[in-house]
Symmetry: C2
Subunit: 642 residues, 2 copies
């Protein structure tokens, strides 16, 4: 046995006793030490870097570690084995693109605008934002020796009178509080009720003098990023917003690796814990603290996620999703409550899930389609959700077809050496001077924020600019020399956006050939999917009239640059609309509006699902797309090449 | 700080670190060491005896400890304070009347007969033992690439066809198993469903080749004793039976002390844990093991208990029950599930509670009234439930009145120095030779079982015989000398039923003047309640036509002796019927039969509740009853006095 000490940058440490010869990454996982390994420990992504501090560790050198890095002590955890007592540092940067939770400051109107737009847009077309949650005030006569009716009876009668509904259901959680709340408030109370046609469910009871907020929670569970809002159910106001990495990332970057991990002994429980206990519950707690409400005052939850995320959230066997004939356990649930999965909101809160429509097109897309409103328009429109899975919906008010492709986490900054989500410190836009090769950066955050990494929209700009300036070839290799172009011992080139001294990081913020290669494959997956789906419908790219782009890529996305690198079809840039995280705004609409919820189920039913992997020509198309911009250069505008 | 070591007779021990000066009983409670203290630590009951083994303990000597006992090391925990490291023995006998769980051997037909009689009796008058739980077998076509319907949809459609009902609700627990169970069994499965008029609830799903048992659980939660049966819901067969002490006993012997304890900091949680986690869950586990079924295969629970027990089970503030105007939180619940209180059965199992009708007449009485069938007969009948609270129902098919009195735990062996429940080793009947004063004992258990203690029916016989033989006075004091009559240093007399050597205990099995006094007050409470209630109706004792006696007093109860000591009215002994634990058999009937359940709610509604404590003359009547047999000797047959 040996003792392994994991040190963290904040000074904390975890000491683990383990057998000699054990893999360091495995040891970390078993001890709940989070080290990112998007490739699930195959030594292919280079993300699981830790710094050796002392003791005995057997570790190969790999292409992900430069000589100088190796000398400084950097090792990949996945190829390191414990040879005796050992101490390592787990740097924050090893999980930079996922770990930092951001609870948004709602004083910034942009944070709120996207939800208000979604809400206004749906209201405009008749989907009023009404739901069945209400506050009912009741005032009862206190009991006397002549009127000894039990508390529950007294409340039921008052609510029957107030609502006109006979069947009043008082669940355990409410019954339990009854004697205390009634007596503390002299039988002058208010109830939070869910009112259906035939019955009333009494979620909660409080004194009449309390300022009550009926809270709701909308969540987008992405493979890489999880975002959520806490809202006031009575007026739709956003009370808090947060986003963070999906805690499941350490079990694999994409849905396939997650499913494989979930089939291992205890895997389903581990993945469910990673999303519920490690990701959602801390988020809920922080948001509620920011909003100044108790987590128990969230009485409804709406969740949009892809089919795999939905299965793993519920701890349901997802293996049939990846094996022929690719059958989900459910498209929609009909009985799902917070207490079922220990989600830390009111235990009786109903969880609404945006419906899946196939193994690889899930609730994130049906919710997103709802807010895109393409189903309400005659124009042929394309809805693109840029997540770890890229999903597309094409159609109009007459028909809709959807498909999914595996893009990987690059759009959200994953699989990119200096990648990060579109939060403070991220380079979100960039231009490069063709002559000096010097970059001008636009960084998310307050004036003067130093660059820490690059988010999706930044990567698009950088690649587009590097290509335009002739610094990289159509294959993404560096072909010009300069002070910002580096080559490592293996000959791998990179472009430095910010040298260590200028950056907010402990090293250069750069984009490497490996990063560019990863991103080209991601954009290639998207464009080939668009072409293949349209071809299956006998449509041509030029027939697309509107494009709605959604996802965590960043609101700074430059559509022209995305066209220039061959990611999006070459139609007028005015036809493009960035609609933000439509999965989250869709979940928000379903949370608030019973009509929107029903409409989403209806849309899901009417959507045709195209399985790309069995579609002839898709792979050839993908290979042709893995260039800048494409092997068929007539498809894209020619950019000046330096 | 000091270390306290609690040793147990089975060799186990618990070591606790605590502050100097701490009370030993409090320390035990905090550490979950169970030491009975029916008086809740007031040094009045003498039950919390522990044996000092070494170390530093400050402890007063009290009237409950004889000189020789004190010398042997016996101390009352409630008056002992920790003065340094100390070791004590917690003898089994300190909790003899409550701790031993007994899981019944169902090969003995008597164990089963009482339930079959209850069932047959109710069926006879039209309450068929039918409920809404069913097993439905369905066989589906497995999915293919051309038939990619999700699992839940496939099951719903099959169940719609099989049941003819459209709304099929699949809860989380079932959805979670779906992909695995369907694939393991090639889509050939059986579902356990709850079938209502408009919807079907799918509790569980299994392969079609499995032998399934649809289990149910009926429980009687007594203040002192908890009894339960596990039942096959499809045919009513009893699969296992158990009884044990109510784990709340260490917080007080009666409902008032329990309520007071529950109002202390954290008290509600402690009392709920004591009944759910410490009492019910271990019982369920053992019964299910004996029955050979999984605890998750219990799909419905029926509970009968008094109003306080029902409140404490649910962790609901019971304080208003004991304070004017004495208002319960509920008579009946309308939404209560196993998962609400972590009862270890199927988490979706519905918990039915026999309805309370007042603060001191609860579900145990309404359930008992159901099986007494007095509501179906023209004769004026009296139903007596001898529990820690004594409850009475008087009436016939036209009217019913009920009341409650506080008898204390004496009928179940509580508050009696050698008292125990009616299980193996209990003296359940006794005669005494008037000349030799030698007893003849009847002991529960196999031939040759040595006496360990005395159960309720045994105490009635002993007191009746001691009185008949002139060994005790009408006030219960010893007035004859003999080899079996002892007096301690304080002059307190006792009668030895079995000397240490003849007994299965570590000391003499005896009945003391304190015990007799406790029992006289218990029987006095019952008889005075009967007279007071009848008087309030302008009835006389002679008008009682039938008497149904229920409770854990023991099936060996000698009705004539109970009359002789002034406990029961003097009417012909043939009119008396012992109906066992009618609270449990009533809960069993409600569990199995939807009609019986509804009938019980109806009975509860039609029962008038008489509050004895405010009834004029009750206290005087009680005082008059605290004699053998009564101050008004004309009420009872004159027994030969020696």
């Amino acid at each position: 046995m040996a003792n392994v000490v994991f040190h963290f940058e904040n000074g904390e440490k975890v000491v683990v006793s383990t057998a000699l010869g054990e893999n360091l990454l495995e040891t970390a996982r078993k001890s709940n030490v989070v080290i990112d390994a998007p490739c699930s420990g195959n030594a292919s992504c280079g993300k699981c870097k830790v710094k050796y501090l002392g003791g005995k560790l057997d570790s190969q050198k790999t292409r992900h570690i430069s000589d100088s890095e190796y000398e400084e002590g950097w090792r990949l955890a996945c190829v390191s084995h414990i040879a005796g007592d050992v101490e390592v540092l787990v740097p924050d940067i090893a999980s930079a693109y996922r770990s930092r939770m951001k609870v948004a400051d709602l004083s910034s109107p942009q944070e709120v605008a996207i939800f208000e737009e979604a809400k206004a847009g749906l209201e405009e077309i008749g989907l009023s934002m009404e739901n069945n949650l209400h506050i009912v005030k009741i005032r009862m006569e206190p009991p006397t020796l002549d009127d000894t009716m039990p508390d529950i009876e007294r409340v039921i009668r008052a609510l029957q009178e107030e609502t006109g509904i006979q069947y009043i259901r008082i669940p355990y959680a409410t019954l339990r509080k009854l004697p205390d709340v009634l007596r503390r408030n002299d039988f002058d109370v208010q109830c939070i009720i869910g009112k259906a046609q035939r019955h009333v469910f009494v979620y909660d009871i409080h004194g009449n003098n309390e300022d009550l907020i009926v809270g709701g929670l909308a969540v987008d569970i992405g493979t890489t990023t999880v975002s959520a809002v806490v809202v006031n159910m009575l007026n739709g106001k956003i009370l808090a917003k947060a986003s963070t990495g999906n805690g499941q990332i350490r079990y694999g970057a994409d849905v396939i690796n997650r499913i494989i991990e979930s089939t291992k002994q205890g895997g389903r429980g581990r993945l469910q814990d990673a999303i519920v206990a490690e990701t959602l519950n801390p988020m809920i707690q922080q948001m509620c603290r920011a909003a100044g409400i108790s987590t128990r005052h969230i009485y409804r939850v709406s969740i949009a996620g892809n089919t795999t995320m939905n299965h793993l959230l519920m701890g349901i066997n997802a293996d049939p999703l990846r094996m022929e004939p690719y059958i989900p356990a459910f498209f929609k649930t009909n009985s799902f409550y917070a207490s079922d999965i220990n989600l830390k909101v009111n235990p009786d809160a109903h969880i609404i899930m945006a419906p899946n429509i196939g193994s690889y097109v899930g609730g994130d897309i049906t919710a997103g389609t709802l807010v895109s409103r393409l189903w309400d328009r005659p124009e042929f429109s394309l809805f693109i959700d840029l997540g770890t899975n890229g999903e597309l919906v094409f159609g109009n008010s007459d028909f809709m077809m959807s498909c999914a492709c595996s893009a990987g986490p690059a759009f959200e900054g994953g699989d990119i050496s200096c990648g990060m989500r579109a939060t403070d410190g991220a380079i979100e836009a960039c231009t490069i001077d063709r002559d000096t090769m010097e970059p001008s950066l636009s960084i998310i955050g307050e004036e003067g924020t130093k660059p820490v990494g690059i988010c999706g929209s930044g990567i698009i700009d950088i690649i587009s600019e590097l290509f335009r300036c002739g610094i990289i070839s159509p294959k993404g290799k560096f072909i010009r020399e300069g002070s910002r172009v580096k080559h490592d011992a293996y000959g791998m080139g990179s472009y430095v956006l910010a040298f260590e001294a200028e950056s907010g990081s402990v090293k250069d913020v750069e984009l490497t050939e490996v990063d560019i290669d990863n991103f080209i494959r991601a954009k290639g997956a998207i464009f080939s999917a668009i072409r293949t789906m349209l071809r299956s419908l006998d449509f041509d790219i030029s027939m697309i009239e509107q494009v709605y782009v959604a996802g965590g890529i960043g609101s700074g996305i430059n559509m022209q640059n995305a066209i220039n690198i061959g990611m999006f079809p070459d139609i007028p840039v005015e036809c493009y609309h960035y609609i933000g995280n439509s999965s989250l705004s869709g979940a928000y609409a379903m949370l608030l509006s019973t009509k929107a919820e029903r409409k989403t189920y209806e849309l899901a039913k009417n959507m045709t699902y195209l399985e790309l992997s069995t579609e002839p020509g898709y792979m050839d198309e993908f290979v042709a797309c893995c260039f800048l911009p494409h092997t068929d250069s007539t498809l894209f505008p020619s950019v000046e090449q330096g």
